[in-house]
Amino acid sequence: MTRVEPLSDELNMEQELVTEEVAESALDVPAVEPIETVEYGTGEEEKVKLMSLVGHLTELRQRLIISLLCFFGGSIFGWFYATPFIQYIGKNVGPFVFVSPSEAFLALLKLSLAIGLVISSPVLLAQLWLFIMPGLLPREVFFFRRYVPLIMLLFLVGLVFAHFTVYPIALKFFLGFGSAKLEAKLAISRFLGFFLAMHLPFGVMFELPVVLLTLVKAGLLRVEFLIKQRKVAYLGAFVIGALLTPPDPVSQVLMAVPMLVLYEISLFLARRVKPIAEEVVQKSVLGGED
């Protein structure tokens, strides 16, 4: 089977290549530089023809053009949804104001670019994936297949979590200090900054299980260590909560508590994870007995 400049059929072909069996056995195959031929150890020889440098650049150019077009298309689409979006986030906040002349225009512009980025992100990620995938080893492909969707899902869960629990609580808390004499007139650019600061860190924070489990799997951290250092981890959660959120104790606590829960979930899962090194040793010992 020869692959020459795969573009459209790539996905199917890779699916054929990476069966569970291949991926499992690939773990203990020493890393082979894919210079000319790569033997996957399936018995059947897979010859990978390398693309020339110009071919790669041409592909990169095409993918960049496609990505940019999608991004701009999404942004133009986003321009029409920027105002409804401001309406939506301003439901309980009252009308926003803008303080410097260009602020409203800039806020709408940035918002439409952000919407464009979100809308086109599937295309952007797919383009990135299609560009780098031919250069990956099967086990790397396997790794990406398995973890990237998980990472993205966790990120989204973090965002949704923040939006429906932490963000309303924080907003209510802060706006609670308003009174008849102290009127909330929030500048749109500052509010958008606040909105972002109340969401994005939670997306990042929800990756904690992935990070911890990866470290445990790689043998860099031991579960016992994580359990022993729980106190330090709790302190760290509050410090990170202070650093990542607006400088006030409320959002700090609102961020630290879910982080602690995530830490415990990670510990729970980490107990069931065996470091790769151990696996390899076990396998080789078993292999020796055979």
Partner: protein, 246 residues
């Protein structure tokens, strides 16, 4: 004693004395113009905020400091020719009479060009840009422009426009010392236009294309006018050179 007299008569002491006097006079003029400008700041602010429903200040000192800043910038612009004249008089010691004469018009012309640019920014560009930005006000986003932001916005338009309108002076100077020729200016017109657009984008305070285009178009016109003037000067100089050869 004689040694001290000799020292006292040295040229450098006279020069230092002169610098001191000129600095004092410049400072006095600056302070005076600053005071006069401060009186006129309400008029300027009225003129700018005509298009606005309301103007607010968000920190206690903001209104006062915005007026001070405006007055200082105005004072600096108005005093600039006087200060430049002092610099010119001082530097003139080292120049020949003919050189001094040829640069005689430099200060008034550059001041005039700066004023034209600043006035264009203040009376034409600023209102148009302001109207554009305020058109994004809606029920979700009310315009509550702060005086500081507005002052910075206007200063950020006026100063770059004034400075960029000095382009003909710069070009004539470069032509005079022989760095550019009419031919090279015509040949490199493409690059000049590109540079003008980039400079206009960098210098104007907002990321929209309005101020940029409003700055770039007059600059391109000035570029063309400068080329015509330089051609005339060039031809005259060639004729003189030919005559002196005969």
């Amino acid at each position: 004693m004689a040694a001290f007299e000799g020292l006292a008569n040295l040229e450098i002491w006279k020069r230092l004395d002169e610098i001191r006097n000129r600095l004092i006079w410049s400072a006095v003029a600056l302070v005076a113009m600053f005071g006069v400008s401060y009186m006129y700041t309400p008029y300027i602010l009225n003129q700018i905020s005509e298009k606005l429903n309301q103007l607010v200040f968000l920190s206690p000192g903001e209104a006062f400091f915005a007026r001070l800043k405006l007055a200082f910038v105005m004072g600096l612009i108005l005093t600039a020719p006087y200060i430049l004249w002092h610099i010119w008089r001082f530097a003139g010691h080292g120049l020949k009479k003919s050189q001094r004469r040829s640069a005689f018009w430099l200060i008034p012309i550059s001041f005039l060009l700066f004023s034209v640019g600043a006035a264009f920014a203040f009376f034409v560009v600023a209102p148009v840009a302001l109207r554009f930005f305020l058109s994004f006000a809606s029920t979700e986003m009310e315009a509550l422009i702060s005086i500081q932001a507005l002052t910075n916005f206007v200063i950020g338009l006026v100063i770059p426009f004034g400075l960029m309108f000095e382009l003909p002076v710069l070009m004539l100077f470069l032509a005079k010392i022989g760095i550019v020729t009419p031919e090279s200016l015509v040949k490199n017109r493409k690059y000049a236009i590109l540079i003008i657009f980039i400079a206009a984008a960098v210098l104007t305070p907002t990321p929209d294309a309005i101020a940029q285009i409003a700055l770039a178009i007059p600059l391109i016109l000035l570029y063309e006018i400068s080329i015509v003037i330089i051609k005339i000067v060039w031809r005259k100089r060639l004729r003189e050179a030919a005559r002196s050869r005969e």
